[in-house]
């Protein structure tokens, strides 16, 4: 029906198309699985269902809430409306302090308890993650 050259071209094109679709599908699929959502303590409190996925929690480190033992630290993140207790074992950034903004990445245990796997570094004393700023402004 078709010449040899045309046939080859059709095969090539359909191959390219299929692989393109596959790649797009792959990217989107793994995007869906691997994105990390940002929540404020209030948003976590209002969640209809607790997610098992990794999330980020942002807010202020509550005054006098930081406790340290040899294995881990714990502190309370507050958005001045609601708060959530966070435990973490690992290295904390230098700018981590009470009454400063913080973003913790980890897993929600329940509405009041969070296990962090990572505390995000901030590099400027005036800098506040936009998420935190917004969450604070909204409340």
């Amino acid at each position: 029906m078709f010449g040899k050259k045309v046939k080859l071209r059709i095969i090539f094109l359909s191959f390219a198309l299929v692989s393109l679709i596959l790649i797009v599908f792959l990217i989107l699929k793994s995007l869906e699985e691997n994105v990390v959502y940002f929540k404020s303590p209030t948003e976590i409190k209002n969640l209809s269902e607790l997610t098992k996925k990794k999330v980020r929690v942002g807010g202020m480190v509550k005054k006098n809430s930081l406790e340290v033992n040899s294995k881990e630290i714990s502190f309370v993140i507050t958005d001045f409306k609601n708060e959530i207790k966070v435990t973490y074992s690992g290295i904390v950034p230098n700018l981590f302090e009470e009454e400063k903004g913080v973003v913790a990445e980890g897993f929600i245990q329940d509405r009041k308890f969070f296990v962090a796997k990572k505390i995000l570094a901030k590099h400027d004393e005036n800098y506040m993650p936009p998420e935190v700023k917004k969450a604070l402004e909204n409340n």
Partner: protein, 622 residues
């Protein structure tokens, strides 16, 4: 005074730009074949003006003239001279001035270097490059002028962010910019060659140098940033898939693809369209990188200021440039002179194409991961971040075929090759590498079939590129770079698999046992330096049967602005990096301590330098 001089020379630059643009258009239209040195002089004067302007800013920083807003915002009298100077490009305004300087410098070098090229092509390149320069000039003068002044003059400046006060970071921006801006010349020249209908082997040979030069600087620039992140910021990591890192990786991937495709254009006079598209894309990626970083859309250490008007300006400018490029690309047909445009399936051309496909795939993964969060936030106001798992999941599986192709590709001949060359010996090596990697995976406790395959293919690649080193039919620069790349891959893999770390909160006198090593926190000293106070920890690590090693990581508390940074202490040898860093935790009693063992770290840096070195060999070779 100096301030005004700098400012006026920038304004004069704009006039020169307009003049050069109109003159080059006139020369192109009148087909004036005499290239009478006027452009050489004009661009030289323009270069002089912008160098002068840059010099004024440097002087302002050195003498700490705080009537200049940029100096006031980013400098301080107590800062060491070296960081006063590096502070010039450690901020938004100054770094853009540097960007402009490099833009004009490259155009000047281009004019110097292309004496043999056709006049109309040269004029067109000058025109396009000048358009970019003009845009940047306007951008600098109207939205980010480094010479704005404050009155009354403040007594003291606000200081440079201490984490930027670091030797690697002092030279990181200029090197990276050389790479970024180099792509602008490739862009201008590609458009010029398209309009001039002179895309051929000769052009490829000529533009190849610029592509290599940009690629070398981009590689080194990324490496410097990565080294800095490793010891200053990352606590032992060297790549975080941070949006700002991605933004530099994307043009690199594109440029790497271009680097290979331009060789096909040179040798076979083919892949013309593709090469032009890649040139345009590379520059667009470099520009959008600047846009994303400068506009404050991406939040990171590189975001100096969040000023929407800047972002908007760059976005519009970028849009115009890309539109211009697309219009030019579609209105001038690129004729393929090579009658047999289809490559034989087993040939070097096909291998290069495969390389390009992989690069494009990696590029699109990084692109989606970087841009998706921005789009999602605009559309649904949902805030998300895309982390390492996304990139690893999508890229790592594709590395396996990529490595195999990369082992075979360089050995193929141009035009047509025979299958018989892939001999049993190679298959034996493949099996051997499978066994070795199985042992590695088994021993390290990461029991995945997948890792086994990944490691064995990378060992295979390492073997192939190493044995290519002694072969004659492979180009020398290519041998070096390919070998360096395989070394890089192996080092990263070994590093990833065997890295060990322990975190703990310690007081002075505390002990810690980790992998039959005893880590003892002995004491801390206080010291006063010029512009910071220093807290030096003394740690001793004892391993049975070995001499104890002392580590002295530091915490620096800078005066202006008051920020503390951690300086890791790293003991490097050929096999391992031993890395200790500590930070303040609570009222200076308890410290957060991290000890890491990072195998093959030094080889990552060595292989990157070697990779760039291979590129520079190609550059020197005529």
């Amino acid at each position: 005074m100096i301030n005004q001089l700098g400012n006026y020379s920038l304004v004069f630059c704009v006039l020169f730009s307009i003049f050069i643009i109109t003159q080059s258009i006139r020369a192109i239209i009148s087909k004036n074949s005499k290239f009478d040195g006027i452009f050489y002089n004009l661009v030289f004067l323009q270069l002089f003006l912008v160098v002068f302007s840059f010099f004024c800013l440097v002087v302002n920083f050195i003498v700490s003239d705080f009537s200049n807003v940029t100096v006031y915002n980013n400098s301080h009298t107590s800062k060491p001279l070296f960081y006063k100077i590096s502070g010039v490009w450690g901020n938004h305004e100054g770094s853009l001035l540097l960007w402009l300087l490099v833009l004009i410098l490259f155009l000047f070098l281009f004019i110097l270097n292309s004496k043999k090229s056709e006049n109309s092509y040269k004029l067109l390149t000058i025109l396009f490059q000048e358009v970019i320069i003009f845009g940047f000039l306007l951008f600098i003068i109207f939205t980010s002028n480094p010479f704005e002044y404050v009155f009354p003059t403040p007594i003291e400046g606000l200081g440079l962010n201490p984490i930027l006060q670091d030797p690697a970071l002092a030279i990181h921006p200029p090197i990276l910019y050389l790479g970024y801006v180099g792509t602008s010349l490739v862009f201008s020249s590609s458009l010029a060659a398209t309009v001039n209908k002179s895309i051929n082997s000769d052009w490829a040979k000529h533009i190849k140098k610029w592509i290599f030069a940009s690629w070398i600087f981009l590689t080194l620039g990324i490496m410097l940033g990565s080294i800095w992140a490793y010891y200053e910021l990352g606590w032992g990591g060297f790549w975080f898939w941070d949006p700002v890192e991605n933004v530099s990786l994307m043009p690199w991937l594109c440029l790497t693809a271009l680097l290979h495709s331009v060789l096909v254009l040179e040798k076979r006079n083919s892949l013309k369209n593709w090469t032009i598209i890649l040139s345009i894309a590379t520059f667009a990626l470099s520009m959008s990188g600047t846009f994303l970083v400068r506009s404050g859309i991406l939040n990171s250490i590189h975001t100096f200021a969040n000023d929407p008007s800047r972002g908007l300006f760059i976005l519009i400018f970028l849009f115009i440039l890309i539109l211009l490029a697309i219009i030019i690309y579609f209105s001038y047909e690129i004729k393929n002179t090579n009658p047999s445009n289809n490559f034989f399936w087993l040939s070097k051309e096909t291998a290069v194409l495969i390389n390009n496909w992989f690069m494009m795939y990696f590029l699109s993964v990084v692109l989606v991961g970087t841009l998706y969060p921005i789009f999602l936030e605009v559309i649904s106001n949902e805030k998300i971040s895309v982390g390492a798992p996304f990139y690893h999941k999508l890229m790592v599986p594709f590395l396996i075929p990529f490595f195999i192709f990369m082992s075979i590709g360089p050995r193929l001949k141009w035009i047509k090759d025979k299958f018989t060359k892939i001999n049993y010996y190679q298959i034996l090596i493949l099996i051997l590498s499978l066994v070795i990697s199985y042992l590695i995976v088994e021993y390290s406790g990461v029991k995945y079939l997948f890792s086994t395959i990944l490691i064995s293919t990378s060992i295979f690649l390492f073997y192939s590129s190493a044995s290519d080193l002694v072969k004659k039919n492979v180009q020398f620069p290519q041998k070096i770079s390919h070998f360096a790349f395989s070394l890089l891959i192996i080092s990263i893999l070994v590093n990833g698999i065997y890295s060990k770390e322990i975190n703990s909160n310690m007081k002075v006198g505390d002990n810690l046992t980790f992998m039959n090593k005893k880590i003892e926190f002995k004491s801390i000293n206080f010291e006063k330096q010029d512009n910071y106070n220093l807290l030096r920890g003394n740690f001793e690590i004892t391993e049975e049967g070995k001499i104890p090693i002392n580590f002295q990581p530091e915490i620096r508390i800078y005066d202006q602005p008051v920020i503390s940074t951690s300086e890791a202490d790293i003991k490097t040898n050929l096999l391992n990096d031993n890395f200790i860093v500590f930070s303040l935790l609570k009222e200076g009693e308890v410290f957060n301590v991290r000890y890491q063992q990072k195998p093959f770290m030094i080889w990552i840096w060595i292989s990157l330098i070697m990779l760039a070195f291979g590129g520079s060999l190609a550059l020197i070779k005529k």
